[in-house]
Symmetry: C2
Subunit: 330 residues, 2 copies
Amino acid sequence: MRIEELQTPALLVDGAAFAHNLETMSSALPGPRLRPHVKAHKCTALAARQAAMGHPGFTCATIREMEGMAAAGLGQDLLLANEVLDTSRLGALARSGARVTVAVDSEATIEAAARGGVQEVVVDVNVGLPRCGCAPDDAGRLAELARGRGLEVRGVMGYEGHVVGLEDRAQRTELVGQCMELLVKAHASVGGELVSAGGTGTYDINTWASEIQAGSYALMDTAYGKLDLPFRQALEVLATVVSVSPGWAVADCGLKSLGMDHGNPTIEGASVWFCSDEHLTFSADPLPAVGDRVRVIPGHVDPTVAYHERLHVVDGHDVVEVWPVDLRGW
Amino acid sequence: MRIEELQTPALLVDGAAFAHNLETMSSALPGPRLRPHVKAHKCTALAARQAAMGHPGFTCATIREMEGMAAAGLGQDLLLANEVLDTSRLGALARSGARVTVAVDSEATIEAAARGGVQEVVVDVNVGLPRCGCAPDDAGRLAELARGRGLEVRGVMGYEGHVVGLEDRAQRTELVGQCMELLVKAHASVGGELVSAGGTGTYDINTWASEIQAGSYALMDTAYGKLDLPFRQALEVLATVVSVSPGWAVADCGLKSLGMDHGNPTIEGASVWFCSDEHLTFSADPLPAVGDRVRVIPGHVDPTVAYHERLHVVDGHDVVEVWPVDLRGW
């Protein structure tokens, strides 16, 4: 199939850029040093390519992602890097043969894991981002509590999410060090083999973590594109120009095909004015013609992919593979 | 089922508020005076309730919405209020018995409609929003062109999208008048029975249009909630508190369950700090406990619903119906 035949809006994955990104990351973080995060793409076909690069374990953000990965034969070592109160589905998943580890940061989440039949946990430690995670000083107590409930404690995790996107590399490096000092200290009181942390923005400067949870590197977006990273923009939304007026044009790609929390998307050589539900208004010189195709680069990869049913892997104008985005929902 | 049993995040529709909204709108705009826009909810079960209030026609934004409405038996009079270049699926839909009308604003879109087998069009007129629509002075020429290609021209449409959200009613009223002056003038040169325009914010002040394309009124959001409208907030995202730290709490509802283009969502009695992919960090006094449920009110209804698989209609804590969000995608 040619991309000219695609119904728009459609997600395109540049096969060469994607391959470059996987090779670059796997060279830097071989095997279990990388635990790819599937939340960025929600696609088991893409995850299978990451597994084929030699990474045995994956990071997930939702129960649905855990279930879908196991159903796709990728359940060798799944970490749900998130707290869960109703663990019944996770317990069933573990009993079906997948290796299921879940993050805990409180007595309630430890109790939930034990009650639901999950057998392995990591203690989630707050390293500075105001989100989940216990106080570093409390990690040892929670680990003991978990062991007392019969759970295997595999180690700690602590996501420096407030640092991964900083554009200044020196500042990013300094702050990662401060965050990981907290995590390493917590790990000393928890034990276990895992120190799980990091993301695409810190994959090469977080040298404290035993494994990095990066996900965006595979497809990239304009936010991470501003950093000094060796990964190429592999994801675009293909759109069709449906209307042209004096001074602006409109493409059929809007709020329902783009994650907007990082602001407007980008079109090379054009100026994006605003997005409506199914429209993107932009100016360019010269303006395109009605029927022309444009390539739109999302500001934030994760919530963009979550709107779409499939990824189209392209080589030039040829669609060489179609991958279902099969891990959406909860 | 009780809402306590729902997997979170989950969309809740307050059945009483929803019924109030439908009754209020249908009293103001009975029968064909309202052409409900399905893009706000993407749900044929909800649309069936709107049809039962006596509105024979619907407005759609995508081909998928048109197809889904027809498949659900709601294809009596479907207007695709959007320009389309590849009309092959719309032509097939018309041949299958649905009444299909599509917006045109250029020679290319007229040609596409004729070539694809669509038989009825409206001329889309730009009334001030920099998006689709021809110049008002050009509408008559395009109507003649369409008739020359054998198309039935049903009239005009022109969406005052830059006006519907203005909080000041006097300003909103004045600007609607200016917009509709352009549309009425264009209509005089086009002919046909339809003057289709308006939205939830102008449903009662746009007295020029023969039919109003409102959609958000059924479920509402915080943006329209700021206006002086008689519609009640009927949509919430139910979330579970998964982590509590000194000063903040985290619920399991984030960027992938909320349209973010209008900014952060709202929690009554709490202050929302920020959203991550699957998390919402907020403060409140007192803080909730881990496991508590919170109700999150979206900033923008349309891109919120588009992330979800179903709507749960609730009466107090009882889930009385579950409606699939079956019009997603393209």
